[in-house]
């Protein structure tokens, strides 16, 4: 229906700093999405997690995976089915996840987020996703899903 560019989709992701964990969309098509994010040294959570030893929390990695794999990718897939004004009325909520954490992400690390579609039905999107460091090391992987709901 619409022909949105990667930049258009990025702009439609509603999350904003300090809770936005997507910088660029590198690849985007019907099968999947690839994006990147650089964890800034001054992200709010590093002060407490942990004092003197900043490590990106697993829940933030999960959120990072979801902002790309479920939110941005979901907006793209929805854009093929509905007009822009309807997409803007929809909020993507997290519905479920089964993930594994296998590495550490430090302040300043740039990560690559990849997600592949398992299914997209009735605005529910389920994907297989992973986050890798630039070295290729996988730090977080699993299955996550979210659903577009009309905002009240």
């Amino acid at each position: 229906m619409n022909t949105f560019t990667k930049e258009d989709i990025l702009e439609l992701v509603p999350q904003q700093p300090p809770f936005r964990f997507i910088d660029d969309i590198i690849e985007l098509n019907d099968d999947g999405i690839v994006s990147s994010y650089k964890f800034k040294p001054d992200e709010t959570f590093y002060a407490g997690h942990f004092p003197g030893n900043p490590i990106t929390p697993g829940v933030i990695l999960l959120e990072t995976m979801a902002q790309t794999g479920v939110v941005a990718y979901g907006i793209y897939l929805a854009s093929k089915q509905m007009p822009l004004n309807e997409i803007q009325e929809i909020l993507t909520v997290f519905t479920e996840a089964e993930v594994e954490f296998t590495g550490l992400v430090r302040p300043g690390d740039k990560v690559i987020i990849r997600a592949k579609q398992i299914y997209f039905r009735r605005l529910k999107l389920k994907v297989e996703a992973e986050i890798t460091l630039q070295s290729g090391e996988v730090v977080c992987s699993g299955t996550i899903a979210g659903m577009g709901v009309r905002q009240v």
Binding site: T95, R121, R122
Partner: protein
């Protein structure tokens, strides 16, 4: 497949998603999937996808929206197999 067999298979599918322990003898055609079995609406999408796989049918979105009770599921599937 008989209505009873469909009913049993549906209960098996629902068991994967219910937050409360499903006791077969407590489930009837009137049991509400969302309210009685504590299954959230996002899981209904997975349940309908399981219906498609298990019974080898296709369920369009309007039909899927009509499924509220176990009986709705049984009747939907009986009409399609």
């Amino acid at each position: 497949m008989t209505k009873d067999e469909v009913f049993k298979k549906i209960v098996d599918i629902l068991g994967k998603y219910s937050k409360t322990e499903i006791k077969m003898e407590n489930i009837s055609m009137e049991t509400s999937i969302l309210d009685d079995l504590k299954i959230n609406s996002a899981r209904l999408v997975d349940i309908v996808l399981d219906f498609e796989d298990v019974f080898d049918i296709e369920v369009d979105d309007d039909d899927a929206d009509s499924v509220a009770t176990v009986g709705d599921g049984v009747n939907l599937i009986m009409a399609k197999i």
